[in-house]
Amino acid sequence: MSRLEDLYQIVKAPVVTEKATDDQVKRNAYAFRVPISANKVEIRAAIEQLFKVKVVSVNTLRITPKVRRRGWVAGLTPEWKKAMVALREGDTIEIL
């Protein structure tokens, strides 16, 4: 896996929230939206190659779909996977 578009198939978007920013400050960890099928090894490799940084750890979690109702019709929000990638001290990623 080395082509840029392949890497971006893994790292879909940064997650910019209060919690993610807090994590960034506290343990130099950045949050990304990744495909549900992506595993930690792939995520680590993608982040290291894309941003030229050293990944210390990867934590992932699946955001479960939530019921959303519009009148009579009920549906589910999409399921997605979040990866929190902690970097070596001194490494940074320009997210915005």
Partner: protein, 484 residues
């Protein structure tokens, strides 16, 4: 609404009117800087608000000429950082971004997203401060200023930075002999034939249309027509429901030929009149070529003037003598008004010739540019090609410069006299003018006010009112003599 002399529109309001705005700074692409106007977050108002107690920046004013100065200022690094951070905090506390609770957006996120705009905003704040300080400390009478390119301001962390901009100053005018100017009156009494003509015109204006019937359209009648301009069999342009009179030809036809061609036409009849396509015809290839104007008369009318009795009733006068007296009085008023304007213009012209007024070059250039741009737009609307417009404007430049200089000299002279004689334009004057405009246009006062606010026309109105006051003052203080 009376028109201010040419080139006054961009003139600044006199300083005793609402205060001059501080110089708006400008981004590199020429757009006025609106720090924080980020498209992504409409809920954010990132304005680096002025410091609660503004610390003075170091301002130096260098005179570059009688009407030109350069304001140079130095901003301490700490001061700038303070203002910038205040702006960040202000945004952070008001920001409403997805993923963050209201007011909980971290400063670094705000900085990443709005940093550049907030920096520009902070620079703009200091430009404003320097401007205000220069006006206050040095008593500058600024009438124009150079835009500050915010992107060119170099700011390094921990270092004081400086910036400067040029301003145009109001010229000092030594007023002499503007009171008691001798002018000869050219007012003529209203003559009987003028009263006769006025009554005839009044009747023509009050005529009512009646279907012309089988007699067809009379030469002094009016018709509702469908007009087609044709190149051979091809219809080039078509207009429906036009009101035409045989006395008023359509473009490209001579008056006599038009009258002859249209007079006598009955309802439903179509007349074809030979024409030459005019030089401003939309289709460029046809200009100057022969063509045909086809006029279909939908409804022909003859105009029935009101009877003497009806006219008298309309004007609420008892008899013929009273009608004549009424008309004579109106004519006399109109003549007096015309004469007043002539006298005022003559006095002003004389004063302009007597006073030497140095003009700020920056302002003169700006005024010339505005005039040429306006002329260019008119030519563009007439369908003139870009090259031709450029060429024409280049030939018009000296005339535009002269007109701009004349307008500016008149503006400064009027301001100087107004100031000397304390002819202030007050809020009540503006209010009264707004009411008059509303009444003239049959509009609501609030509508007119909104229009003026939206188009920023109050400065222009103030200048016009001041000019009117000064002109009246000059006339009332002149020695108007009647020729023997």
């Amino acid at each position: 609404m009376p028109r201010a002399p040419d080139g006054w529109t961009a003139g600044r309001a006199p300083e005793y009117l609402p205060p001059l705005r501080s110089p708006p700074a400008r981004a590199a692409d020429g757009r006025p800087s609106r720090a924080g106007a980020a498209a992504t977050t409409p809920n954010v108002r990132p304005r680096a608000g002025p410091s609660p107690t503004p610390e003075p920046v170091q301002v130096t004013v260098e005179r570059l000429g009688p009407c030109q100065a350069r304001i140079q200022f130095t901003v301490p690094s700490a001061e700038f950082q303070d203002t910038y951070k205040r702006g960040l905090q202000n945004v952070a506390s008001n920001a409403n971004m997805k993923g963050f609770r209201p007011g909980k957006v971290p400063l670094q996120v705000v900085e990443k997203q709005f940093g550049t705009q907030l920096r520009n905003d902070a620079v703009e704040h200091f430009v404003r401060q320097a401007y205000d300080q220069a006006v206050k400390e040095q008593g500058l009478k600024i009438v124009g200023f150079q835009r500050v390119n915010l992107d060119e301001v170099k700011i390094e962390d921990g270092r004081d930075w400086d910036c400067g901009f040029e301003v145009s100053l109001r010229p000092e005018i030594e007023l002499t002999d503007y009171k008691g100017v001798a002018v000869e009156s050219e007012l003529e009494p209203v003559m009987e034939p003028e009263v006769d003509d006025a009554i005839v015109n009044l009747k023509a204006q009050q005529s009512r249309p009646e279907p012309a019937g089988d007699a067809g359209l009379p030469a002094d009648g009016m018709a509702v027509c469908k007009v087609q301009w044709m190149d051979g069999e091809r219809v080039v342009l078509e207009r429906d429901n036009l009101r035409l009179s045989p006395k008023t030809p359509t473009p490209g036809i001579e008056a006599a030929a038009f009258e002859q061609g249209l007079a006598g036409a009955r309802d439903g009849e179509t007349r074809a009149i030979a024409m030459t396509f005019p030089p401003d015809f939309p289709e460029e290839a046809l200009r100057g070529k022969p063509g045909t104007t086809s006029i279909e008369v939908k409804q022909a009318y003859r105009l029935i003037p009101p009877t003497d009795e009806e006219i008298r009733r309309m004007l609420n006068v008892a008899d013929e003598a009273a009608l004549r007296a009424f008309v004579r009085e109106r004519l006399s008023e109109a003549k007096q008004q015309q004469e007043d304007q002539r006298i005022e213009s003559k006095i002003l012209e004389g004063l302009l010739a007597r006073h030497t007024i140095e003009l700020p070059k920056m302002m003169l250039d700006e005024q010339t540019r505005v005039r040429l741009e306006s002329a260019g737009r008119e030519l563009q609307q007439q369908g003139v090609s870009e090259d031709k417009i450029r060429e024409t404007l280049e030939t018009q430049r000296p005339a535009a410069e002269e007109a701009a200089a004349k307008g500016l000299r008149a503006l400064f002279l009027v301001q100087a006299i107004g100031e000397r004689e304390q002819l202030l334009v007050k809020r009540e004057d503006m209010e009264a003018e707004l009411q008059q405009i509303a009444a003239r246009n049959r509009a609501q006062l609030e509508e007119v006010r909104e229009y003026y606010t939206k188009n920023k026309l109050f400065d222009q109105m103030a200048v016009e009112l001041l000019e009117r006051k000064v002109r009246r003052f000059l006339r009332e203080n002149a020695r108007v003599t009647t020729p023997a």
